[in-house]
C-alpha cells in the first residue's frame, strides 16, 4: 500500500510540474538513519524520484509554509508568492487550515496533496539502547536490525506515535487532491494526559516538574510547530522580558506554559513538538489538555473548519462559567 501511495504521489507531483502548476513541492525523502524520513523540497521534475512515502513521514510539513509566504525580515517590495505543492496528512492539513485562518498562507498559492493518513511511527518508541542499524517495512510489519545484525520484527501499530493512535482526523479536512489509503484505522479514545489528569494535584505537579526539568530550552518544540510562526517569540523578547533566560526550572516552566497556552484553540495535536524534543519530554501530556478543553468547554477543534472563527476571538452566550469563583 505504501509503495502504491508513493507511486501515486510521484505521478501527481509530476503532473503538477508538467502542467506548470507549482514552483516547489514539499514532501519527504529517505532519511539518513533507519526509521526516518526527511522533509524534501523539489523544484524540478528530475528530483521527483527522491520522494518517498513510508511509516516515518512524520514531520508536519506545514511548518515550512509561513516562512515562505511571510519571509523575514519583511520585504519592502511586493514579492511574487511561489506556488507550492505540499503533501499533507490529516494533521498537516489541519495546520494548513489554521495557518490560512491566521493569514499566514495564501490559499490560492498552495496545492494540497492530501493523504488519508494511517498514522506515523515514532523512532523513540524503540528503546534508545537498541542501536538500529537497518530497517525494512513490509505489509504492515517493520523489521529492524540491531548492531549485532539481530532482526526484530514489530507490528506497525506498535511504533505509532501517541498522537497518531488517538488521531480523529486522518483525512485532511482541506485538500486539492486526496489519496486514499484503504481502511480507516479506528481512533483510540482520547487519552493524552488523561491518566495524568487522574493523579493528585501534587503528583501532577511533581511529574510536571520532572518532565520540565529535562528541558534545555533549545526551542525545538517551538520551531517544529507550524503554529509558532511569530516573528519574535515572547520567549525571546527583551522589552518587556517575559521570561528569564536561565535554565532555572521556573523560567523553563514559564516558557513551556506560555508556549503551550499560545496553542489554545490552535493545536492540531500533530505531535511535532513531542517528536522534536531532544530530551524526550512528553509535552503532549500538557498540550493535549488544551485541545481537550477547547472541545469540551467550547466545542471547538482547531483546523477542522475553515469558516469557523478563532477560538479566542469569539464567544458564545452559552460559554461555561465554571471558572468563575462565586463568593
Amino acid at each position: 500500500m505504501m509503495k502504491e501511495i508513493e507511486t501515486r504521489i510521484k505521478e501527481v507531483v509530476k503532473d503538477l510540474f508538467t502542467q506548470n502548476k507549482i514552483d516547489l513541492f514539499i514532501g519527504y525523502s529517505k532519511g539518513s538513519l533507519p526509521l526516518t524520513s526527511s522533509p524534501c523540497f523539489i523544484t524540478k521534475s528530475e528530483d521527483i524520484e527522491k520522494l518517498v512515502w513510508n511509516s516515518f513521514c512524520s514531520n508536519n510539513l506545514a511548518v515550512y509554509l509561513p516562512r515562505i509566504f511571510n519571509p523575514q525580515p519583511r520585504k519592502k517590495e511586493k514579492i511574487e508568492l511561489p506556488r507550492i505543492g505540499i503533501l499533507a496528512k490529516g494533521c498537516d492539513a489541519r495546520s494548513i487550515v489554521v495557518l490560512i485562518k491566521e493569514h499566514q498562507i495564501a490559499r490560492d498559492n498552495v496545492f494540497i496533496l492530501g493523504i488519508v493518513c494511517q498514522g506515523m511511527g515514532d523512532r523513540k518508541k524503540i528503546r534508545n539502547d537498541i542501536e538500529i542499524t537497518g530497517a525494512e517495512e513490509k505489509n504492515g510489519r517493520i523489521t529492524i536490525v540491531d548492531e549485532n545484525k539481530k532482526e526484530i520484527e514489530l507490528k506497525r501499530e506498535e511504533l505509532l506515535s501517541d498522537c497518531c493512535i488517538e488521531c480523529q482526523h486522518a483525512t485532511p479536512p482541506i485538500h486539492d487532491i486526496l489519496i486514499e489509503s484503504g481502511n480507516q484505522r479506528p481512533a483510540a479514545p482520547k487519552g493524552g494526559g488523561r491518566d495524568f489528569e487522574k493523579k493528585s494535584i501534587e503528583d501532577r505537579w511533581n511529574l510536571f516538574q520532572e518532565e520540565i526539568s529535562k528541558c534545555i530550552r533549545c526551542y525545538a518544540c517551538r520551531q517544529a510547530c507550524p503554529n509558532c510562526y511569530c516573528r519574535e517569540c515572547f520567549a525571546d523578547q527583551t522589552k518587556p522580558r517575559w521570561i528569564g533566560v536561565t535554565d532555572h526550572i521556573s523560567d523553563v516552566m514559564f516558557y513551556q506554559i506560555g508556549r503551550i497556552f499560545h496553542q489554545a484553540g490552535r493545536c492540531v495535536d500533530c505531535g511535532a513538538c513531542v517528536r522534536a524534543c531532544p530530551m524526550g519530554i512528553d509535552l503532549r501530556v500538557f498540550t493535549h489538555k488544551l485541545v481537550r478543553d477547547a472541545k469540551e468547554l467550547f466545542d471547538y477543534e482547531a483546523g477542522v473548519f475553515l469558516e469557523e472563527g478563532l477560538l479566542l476571538a469569539t464567544f458564545k452566550p452559552e460559554d461555561k462559567q465554571e471558572f468563575i469563583s462565586e463568593p
Binding site: 525580515p73 511586493k78 491566521e102 499566514q104 523578547q237 518587556p240 517575559w242
Partner: protein, 1014 residues
C-alpha cells in the same frame, strides 16, 4: 449670547439630553430637584432584557455629566419661573440649602459617618436607614452630602454640630440659605419625569398594611447588591428568604377605578426581569406573575420572556387579582384568582410584589400649568405623533416619562431627539468655545526619572488608619522618587497649585498621587499636570482610601503596609510611563443617510437645519418608505399630509443631496472620514458625484412587511393584510361598507419559533383599523384574534375604545392558531359573497368557535430587510438574530453603533410606530451632530499601538476588536491600528501572542513592572 439650554430633571432623560447638547457645543444647565442626578434608573438593580447592572452603565454617564465643561449641574433646586420665548428664555431657579459649602466640601463623607441622626433612606425607599447628613448614594453626582434640616439635632434643638467638628475642610454651613439663580437660555427641555403610583391607595392589596407586600421599586432595591439587604433577598416581616413570590401586574395602570386607563409600558418586563434575577439569587424560589397581557413589545423582549418561562420556570398566570389577604400566623399572603378554566384557585405566597405604574400627579399637572405646557387626558405632556418631543409652548421640548410612560431606550431616544430639536432652534447663536491655553510640554528626552509622590490624608479619612507620614517617608526611598509630601486634601485648590509648583521647581517628570479613586479624581490631577507643562499621562493614581483606610479600619499597620506596597508598585510603573498624545482627526462635515423613508428624511432635515450637508440615498424611485402605506395614526392624525410636506421640504432643501434609485456600493473609512461609492439604479439622477466624502453615516433603511404564507394569504382575495385593509379603508371605502363580518388575526409571522420577536405595532394598527371600520359602519362585526394585546402606553386608551365600540377580542394560544377554510373560494367558483370560515379556540369560553368572515385581515409581521446583511458587512456593524441592526447598547446607546460615527434609526433598528421613528431619527441626528460639529475629534490617549517588526498579521486582534479599529495591511501583512476608533480596552494587546500590539498607558512592561514589586 452663545447657545444655552436649560434641562429640567436630572434622570437619564435629562442627563442624556445634557450630554448630547454639551457635545454639540451648547452650554447646559441641568436642574435637578433632588440632591443627586440619576433619577429612577439609579435605583434599579438590573435592566431588561440583557440584565445589565443599571448602576454600572449609568454611573459613567453621571461622572461624564459632572466632568463636562459645558454642563453645569444645579442639584437640589427647583425651577420657579420661566419667562420669555425663543431664544430668550429667562429662568428663575431656587437652589435649596444643603448646609454645606460646595466649594469647600471634598465629598470625603466624614460628616456622614459622624452624624448621630439616622433617618429613613429615600434611595432605598425607606427600607434602610441613612444619616441626616448623607451622600444620597455612593455614586451620587454631585458627590456632596446634604443635610436633612428637619431631623438635624442642631437645627431642631440648637446643639450637636458634630459634623462641623470633624469637617477638616470647614465646609459645614448651618446658616446656609436658599439661593436664587437666574439663567438665560435659548430653549428648555423638560425631563421632569413621572411618579410611581402610590400602591397604598389600592388598599385591597394590603400595601403598607401587610409587611410582605412591596412595590416593584422597593423590590429592585432589595435585589440590588447596594440595597438595604445587600442583595440578599429577604422579606421584611421576618428576614427570611422567600420561597414563593407573586408579582401582581397593572397596579395603578389600566385601571379605570384609579382613573389611570393607560398602560405603564415597563412593568411587565420589569416583573419578568425580577423573576429571573430572583431565581438567580435564590435557585429554589418560585416566581409567579399575575398579568392581563404580557407586553413584551420591545427588541428581544419576547425572547427574554421565553427564557424566563423555559429556563427560569417563571409561572405566568393570566388573571386580574382583586385582593391580597394575609395569613396572620405566618404573615404569608393569600391570593385568590380565577383560572382560565374558570375555577377559583387560592395560593399562598411569602412575598407579593406590586408592579406599580408610572403616573402624573397633581403636582406634575400644576407644574405643567405653571410653565404653559399642555397636558393630555392622562396628565402627561401633550405631543403629536409627528413632533413627539415638542411641547405646546414654543421653545420647550419634552423628554422621558413626562410625556408618558416609557422604557429607558425610548427615553434616551426622546432625550437625544429633544436635544436635537432644542439645538435646531439655536442655529443662529455661536457655540460656546472652550479652548484652554496649555503651556508647552517639557521635553523629557534624555531626562532621568524624577518622580514626585503626593500622599493625601483626606482629612482623617485616610490618615486615621494609614500612617501617612510613614508612607511619605517610605516613598522617598523608592526608585526615581525625588520628592514626597502629604496633603490634608490633595484635591483641594491650593494642593493643586502646590503640585504644579513642585513640578516646575523640582522638574518632576512623573507624578504619583496616593489618595482616593481615579474613577472620580484622575481627571483633576491630570489637568494639574497639563497646566504645569507635564504630559497628563505621566501620572499614576494610588487608591489608599477605598482600598486601604476604609476597608481596613481596624488594621492600621497592615493598611499602612498595603499603602506602601501600592505606592511602590505605582512608582515602579511610573518610571516606565511615557508621554502620550491624543491623535486628532479632521472631521468631514457631511452625513450619509441611507434610506429615504420617514426616518431618513427627518434625520436629513434635522442635520440640514443645523447646517450640515446631507447625502440622502434612497434605493426606490420615490421617497416616503413604509409611511406611504400608513394613512392615519391610531390617534387619528393624517399621515398623508405630513409625509407630503416632509418630502417637499427634503426636495427643496439645498443642503440635502438626494440620490434616488441609488444603492450603496461601498463604504470605506471611519468616523469623520468615510468614503462611499454610490451605484446607479434604474435611472441616472443627473450628474451628481457618485463618490462621496462624509463624516458620519445614519442607517435608516427601514423594514418590510412580511408576506404571509399562512392563512391562505395570496390564494384567496378575501384574505388580506392590515396594510391592504388600510389602503382599502382610505381609497375604496365603498367596498368596505358592504362587509358584515371581519376577522383580524394578530401575530402573523411574529412571536413564532423562527421569528420570536413581537412586531410591536400590529396590535395598535389592528385596533386603529378596527375603529375605522366601526366608524365607517358601526354595524360591522369585527373580531380580533390575538395572543396578547400590546397597546402599550397611551395606546391602551384605544383598546378600551375598541372594546366599547363592540370589537370582539378573542384570545388564542401559541400552537392553537386559528384555522381558515375558504368556502366558495373565488378561484374555484365565481361567487364573490362566499364566506371564509375562521375556526378558533376560545380559552375563556373553553370551546371552539367558528366565525363566518367576509374578510380576514392578517396583522403580518415587520421583517428586517435582507439587504441589511450586505450593509452590515460594509459598515462592519452587527445585526441581531432577527436581522435588525444591533445598537451599541440596548439601553443607553439605542441609536449608536459600537463603531463610532455610524448611527441607526427607524425600522432598521426594530419595528416601531411613526412617532417613535421620528424620535429615533432626531436622536440619530443629535448623536451625529456631536461628531459633525467638531472640526477635529480627539482620539483616546491610551490606545493600542503595533510593533510592526513583531506582527505576523495573524488577524486575531482584528477579530477581537469590538470597534473595528484594527485592520490588516494586506501588502505587508501587518495589523494597523486606527487610533481614532480605538477605545483603549486592550483586548487586542492581551491576546497577541508575540506582544506585537500593546496598550499605551497600560503597556505590558508597565504592568509587569508593577507586578514585579508586589
Amino acid at each position: 449670547m452663545h447657545k444655552r439650554v436649560l434641562v429640567v430633571g436630572g434622570g437619564i432623560a435629562g442627563i442624556q439630553a445634557s450630554l448630547d447638547l454639551a457635545e454639540m457645543g451648547v452650554e447646559v444647565f441641568l436642574l435637578e430637584k433632588g440632591p443627586s442626578i440619576g433619577g429612577r434608573m439609579a435605583q434599579l438593580d438590573k435592566t431588561f432584557p440583557t440584565n445589565d447592572c443599571a448602576m454600572c452603565i449609568l454611573s459613567p454617564k453621571l461622572v461624564e455629566a459632572a466632568a463636562h465643561p459645558n454642563i453645569k449641574i444645579i442639584a437640589n433646586a427647583e425651577l420657579k419661573s420661566l419667562d420669555g420665548e425663543i431664544p430668550n428664555f429667562r429662568a428663575k431657579i431656587l437652589k435649596k440649602p444643603r448646609y454645606i459649602d460646595e466649594e469647600k466640601c471634598t465629598g470625603c463623607a466624614i460628616c456622614m459617618s459622624k452624624c448621630p441622626v439616622k433617618i429613613p433612606d429615600e434611595y432605598n425607599k425607606g427600607l434602610s436607614k441613612t444619616k441626616c447628613m448623607r451622600i444620597p448614594f455612593p455614586q451620587a453626582v454631585p458627590a456632596l452630602p446634604i443635610m436633612d434640616r428637619e431631623s438635624c439635632i442642631y437645627h431642631q434643638r440648637g446643639k450637636c454640630r458634630i459634623c462641623e467638628k470633624f469637617c477638616e475642610a470647614d465646609a459645614i454651613d448651618f446658616d446656609q440659605k436658599e439661593e436664587s439663580i437666574d439663567v438665560e437660555v435659548g430653549s428648555v427641555i423638560f425631563a421632569s419625569g413621572s411618579e410611581e403610583f402610590d400602591a397604598a391607595i389600592k388598599d385591597e392589596y394590603g400595601y403598607k398594611t401587610f409587611p410582605n407586600v412591596l412595590t416593584s421599586i422597593e423590590f429592585e432595591r432589595i435585589l440590588s447588591a447596594s440595597g438595604p439587604t445587600e442583595g440578599h433577598i429577604t422579606r421584611p416581616s421576618d428576614g427570611k428568604e422567600p420561597r414563593r413570590i407573586a408579582f401582581i401586574q397593572c397596579v395603578g395602570s389600566r385601571d379605570m377605578q384609579m382613573g389611570n386607563e393607560y398602560c405603564s409600558s415597563v412593568c411587565c418586563m420589569q416583573a419578568v426581569k425580577d423573576s429571573v434575577i430572583v431565581k438567580e439569587h435564590l435557585p429554589g424560589v418560585e416566581a409567579t406573575i399575575f398579568f392581563m397581557d404580557i407586553r413584551a413589545f420591545g427588541k428581544d423582549f419576547d425572547k427574554f420572556v421565553n427564557r424566563a418561562k423555559d429556563d427560569y420556570h417563571t409561572r405566568f398566570i393570566r388573571a386580574r387579582i382583586s385582593a391580597v389577604e394575609i395569613d396572620p400566623a405566618t404573615e404569608n399572603l393569600i391570593i385568590q384568582y380565577n383560572s382560565e378554566a374558570g375555577s377559583l384557585i387560592e395560593e399562598n405566597f411569602d412575598l407579593v410584589v406590586l408592579s406599580v405604574g408610572l403616573l402624573s400627579t397633581a403636582g406634575i399637572r400644576k407644574m405643567a400649568a405653571r410653565f404653559d405646557i399642555e397636558i393630555n387626558a392622562c396628565g402627561f405632556a401633550r405631543t403629536s405623533s409627528f413632533t413627539p418631543m415638542t411641547a405646546s409652548r414654543p421653545g420647550i421640548f419634552i423628554a422621558g416619562t413626562f410625556s408618558g410612560p416609557k422604557d429607558i431606550p425610548e427615553t434616551v431616544m426622546q432625550a437625544s431627539g429633544a436635544a436635537s430639536a432644542a439645538a435646531s432652534l439655536l442655529t443662529e447663536l455661536p457655540i460656546r468655545e472652550l479652548r484652554e491655553e496649555l503651556p508647552q510640554e517639557f521635553d523629557l528626552r534624555g531626562e532621568q526619572i524624577r518622580t514626585g509622590v503626593f500622599v493625601c490624608r483626606c482629612g482623617i479619612n485616610i490618615a486615621a488608619t494609614v500612617d501617612v507620614p510613614g508612607v511619605v517617608e517610605y516613598a522617598s526611598a523608592l526608585q526615581g522618587v525625588v520628592h514626597s509630601q502629604e496633603f490634608i486634601f490633595a484635591c483641594a485648590q491650593d494642593s493643586q497649585k502646590l503640585i504644579g509648583e513642585k513640578i516646575k521647581e523640582l522638574k518632576l517628570n512623573r507624578v504619583i498621587v496616593s489618595a482616593c479613586t481615579p474613577r472620580t479624581h484622575e481627571l483633576l490631577f491630570q489637568k494639574t499636570l497639563s497646566s504645569s507643562g507635564l504630559n497628563p499621562y505621566l501620572f499614576e493614581f494610588v487608591n489608599i482610601r477605598e482600598q486601604c483606610s476604609w476597608v481596613h479600619q481596624k488594621e492600621q499597620e497592615k493598611a499602612t503596609e498595603k499603602a506602601k506596597d501600592l505606592v511602590r508598585m505605582a512608582a515602579t510603573k511610573a518610571g516606565l510611563l511615557e508621554p502620550l498624545s491624543r491623535m486628532s482627526l479632521k472631521v468631514n462635515k457631511g452625513a450619509l443617510i441611507i434610506g429615504g423613508g420617514v426616518a431618513g428624511m427627518v434625520a436629513s432635515l434635522e442635520l440640514s437645519t443645523q447646517g450640515y450637508e446631507v447625502f440622502l440615498v434612497e434605493k426606490e424611485s420615490e421617497l416616503g418608505g413604509n409611511l406611504r402605506h400608513v394613512h392615519y395614526t391610531l390617534e387619528g392624525e393624517k399621515t398623508d399630509r405630513f409625509l407630503k410636506s416632509l418630502i417637499a421640504k427634503v426636495k427643496k432643501d439645498d443642503n440635502i443631496q438626494l440620490y434616488i434609485d441609488s444603492e450603496i456600493r461601498e463604504i470605506m473609512g471611519y468616523v469623520g472620514n468615510f468614503h462611499t461609492k454610490i451605484g446607479n439604479g434604474k435611472q441616472t439622477t443627473n450628474n451628481k458625484p457618485r463618490e462621496l466624502e462624509h463624516g458620519v453615516v445614519i442607517v435608516a433603511t427601514g423594514g418590510e412587511e412580511y408576506q404571509p404564507s399562512e392563512y391562505l394569504y395570496g390564494r384567496d382575495e378575501r384574505i388580506i393584510t392590515q396594510r391592504e385593509l388600510e389602503e382599502r379603508l382610505t381609497k375604496q371605502q365603498s367596498a368596505i361598507d358592504k362587509l358584515g363580518s371581519i376577522v383580524m388575526i394578530q401575530c402573523v409571522g411574529s412571536r413564532n419559533g423562527q421569528y420570536p420577536y413581537c412586531s410591536r405595532v400590529c396590535c395598535s394598527q389592528a385596533i386603529k383599523n378596527a375603529l375605522k371600520l366601526k366608524e365607517i359602519n358601526p354595524e360591522v362585526n369585527v373580531y380580533m384574534l390575538y395572543r396578547d394585546i400590546r397597546t402599550y402606553g397611551l395606546k391602551e386608551l384605544y383598546y378600551k375604545k375598541a372594546r366599547e365600540k363592540g370589537v370582539i377580542f378573542i384570545r388564542y394560544e401559541e400552537g392553537e392558531e386559528p384555522q381558515i377554510e375558504a368556502q366558495n373560494s373565488k378561484s374555484e367558483q365565481q361567487a364573490s359573497n362566499g364566506e371564509v370560515l375562521v375556526k378558533a379556540y376560545d380559552p375563556i369560553l373553553q370551546r371552539n368557535l367558528v366565525i363566518n368572515a367576509d374578510l380576514v385581515v392578517l396583522s403580518s409581521a415587520i421583517r428586517a430587510r435582507k439587504e441589511n446583511k450586505i450593509l452590515s458587512q460594509m459598515l462592519k456593524v452587527p445585526l441581531n438574530a432577527d436581522g435588525f441592526f444591533l445598537e451599541a447598547h440596548v439601553k443607553l446607546r439605542p441609536v449608536d453603533f459600537a463603531t463610532d460615527g455610524i448611527f441607526v434609526c427607524g425600522l432598521a433598528h426594530y419595528p416601531k410606530d411613526v412617532s417613535e421613528t421620528i424620535c429615533q431619527a432626531k436622536a440619530a441626528s443629535a448623536r451625529a451632530v456631536t461628531i459633525l460639529r467638531k472640526d477635529e475629534i480627539e482620539a483616546e490617549g491610551r490606545v493600542s499601538q503595533i510593533r510592526k517588526e513583531r506582527c505576523s498579521g495573524c488577524g486575531l486582534c482584528i477579530e477581537i476588536c469590538p470597534y473595528t479599529a484594527i485592520e490588516l495591511e494586506e501588502g505587508e501583512r501587518v495589523a494597523i491600528v486606527n487610533e481614532a476608533l480605538c477605545k483603549g480596552c486592550g483586548a487586542c494587546a492581551a491576546s497577541c501572542r508575540s506582544a506585537a500590539i500593546d496598550l499605551k498607558g497600560f503597556k505590558d512592561e508597565q504592568i509587569l513592572a508593577a507586578l514585579s514589586v508586589v
